[in-house]
């Protein structure tokens, strides 16, 4: 299942949520073998104005995935002001009328009939077969529920789109993604989608090969209820430490702060990196 001989996710990426937004950070080194192909690359990609993703793993895979997710999110968002009001389908599991034809229920995450693993000829199964048929119809003929809400896509939606692609194609892809952003429903959120395609929401997430060096530092220094400035310092220090020890991370630190007013990009060059113990 795992690729043989391919390089490990070569980077250090991180995202932290605070009350009112998120801070995303990444290094800027892209390597082919041990040669640094790009020492100023940008690994923080915008999905929408307030949703960003940090990419680690194979650059080609993650670029293709994020392009596709951005396309889907754009399409969902711009297919608005539709003349036809979309029908709301109620989810079987949670009974909310938030079943999005393409992606499952937005509230509870249920996928209707597709979550049944076994073939059993019960009335419930037959009913859900029918539901599956409707499910596929919805995918093509239903306008997106999110559009009805009149707001930009939720961070959770973007994260679930990433998860779908990464999980369904897990044998061909090598992509570790951190999807983070701000939406009006739940504020700042961070979702981690590691290699196998799991989806985990966390207060902060670290990823890439450099992250192994900073698990202890992050666990020791993360506090709940940090302000935006404290989060930025936390991300900058953690990434500087990871870049110091990991050969496949380095270059400059790119920081993106997302809140309700949009995104703010910052850049810290080599000589501005915080420095820690260094034997002179």
């Amino acid at each position: 299942m795992w690729r043989v001989g391919a390089a490990l996710p070569q980077t250090s990426i991180m995202a932290v949520a605070f009350d009112g937004g998120v801070v995303l950070g990444a290094d800027s080194r892209t390597t082919t073998g041990t040669y640094i192909a790009n020492r100023v690359s940008d690994k923080i990609t915008p999905m929408t104005e307030s949703i960003f993703c940090c990419r680690s793993g194979s650059a080609a895979d993650t670029q293709a995935i994020s392009d596709y997710v951005r396309y889907v999110l754009d399409r969902r968002w711009t297919r608005l002001c539709a003349a036809v009001k979309p029908q709301s389908i109620s989810c079987l599991a949670c009974k909310n009328s938030s079943f999005d034809g393409g992606w499952g229920c937005l509230s509870c995450g249920g996928r209707g009939s597709l979550s049944l693993p076994f073939l059993r000829l019960t009335p419930l199964f037959l009913a859900s077969l029918l539901h599956a048929y409707v499910f596929f119809l919805c995918r093509y003929y239903l306008d997106m529920h999110v559009i009805e809400m009149g707001t930009p896509p939720l961070v959770k939606t973007a994260a679930r789109l990433f998860r779908e692609l990464c999980y369904s194609n897990k044998s061909q892809l090598m992509a570790g993604i951190i999807c983070a952003g701000w939406d009006s429903a739940k504020g700042g959120q961070v979702f981690c989608i590691p290699l196998g395609g799991a989806l985990v929401q966390q207060p902060f997430a670290i990823g890439g090969s450099g992250s192994t060096y900073i698990y202890g530092y992050c666990d020791a220094n993360y506090k709940e209820g940090m302000t935006k400035e404290e989060c930025q310092t936390f991300v900058k220090n953690a990434l500087a430490l990871a870049m110091a020890r990991d050969g496949s991370s380095g270059g400059v630190i790119r920081l993106v702060t997302v809140d309700k007013d949009g995104a703010d990009r910052e850049f810290f060059a080599g000589d501005k990196l915080p420095s820690f113990w260094e034997k002179s």
Partner: protein, 204 residues
């Protein structure tokens, strides 16, 4: 990753007018993880002869000890210090003795001949010698070093210019290699003596 890239590191030596300089980085790693930033891979053989070794660090240390031992015996037998050309032949045959189970180290030799002219030579892990009159390189970013040295080198530099040129060539190449870096040490060898200078480089 090849065994020669396991620990990382690089060495470069350049010749000036009646002087040579040899420089190396300071990183010691285990594949992509850095474990030390003060590793020495350039060793003094005699007052006017320096040996830089890149590759697997345990072989670097072993060869350093081996050549110290051989030079001590040489000094006792011959009653004089060894010439750079003779030392280069000694290194070459020591490496070739292990032709079918080699030391994973690639040396760079920089020294001044008894008449004061610079001597530079580099070898591969089997002892194939390449003598040059401008610069020699070895290590994980050797290709980048060839490029930067070729660009910055000019003939007949004095010791200060040589230090500047060599330092900048190495630092530019280090920026493009993940497994070398963490500082640069330069030794400038002239008839009067040896000066050691350290350069602060990117710590990533």
């Amino acid at each position: 990753m090849s065994i020669l890239e396991y620990n990382g590191g690089c060495v470069v030596a350049m010749a000036g007018k009646n002087c040579v300089a040899i420089a190396s980085d300071k990183r010691l790693g285990v594949q992509l993880s850095t474990i030390a930033m003060d590793c020495n891979r350039v060793f003094r053989m005699t007052d006017s002869l320096y040996l830089g070794l890149t590759g697997l660090h345990s072989d670097v240390t072993t060869l350093h000890n081996l050549f110290n031992y051989k030079l001590n015996l040489y000094a006792m037998r011959e009653g004089r210090v060894i010439k750079p050309t003779t030392f280069a032949s000694l290194v070459s045959s020591t490496l070739y003795e292990k032709r079918f189970g080699p030391y994973f180290a690639e040396p760079v030799i920089a020294g001044l001949q008894p008449d004061g002219t610079p001597f530079l030579c580099a070898m591969d892990l089997l002892g194939a010698m390449a003598v040059a009159d401008d610069f020699v390189v070895s290590g994980t970013c050797a290709e980048s070093l060839f490029g930067t040295c070729e660009t910055f080198y000019r003939k007949d530099m004095n010791p200060d210019e040589l230090f500047e040129t060599l330092g900048q060539s190495l630092m530019a190449a280090l920026d493009r290699d993940c497994i070398s870096g963490w500082g640069v040490d330069v030794q400038i060898i002239t008839k009067e003596g040896v000066t050691t200078k350290s350069l602060k480089a990117r710590m990533d």
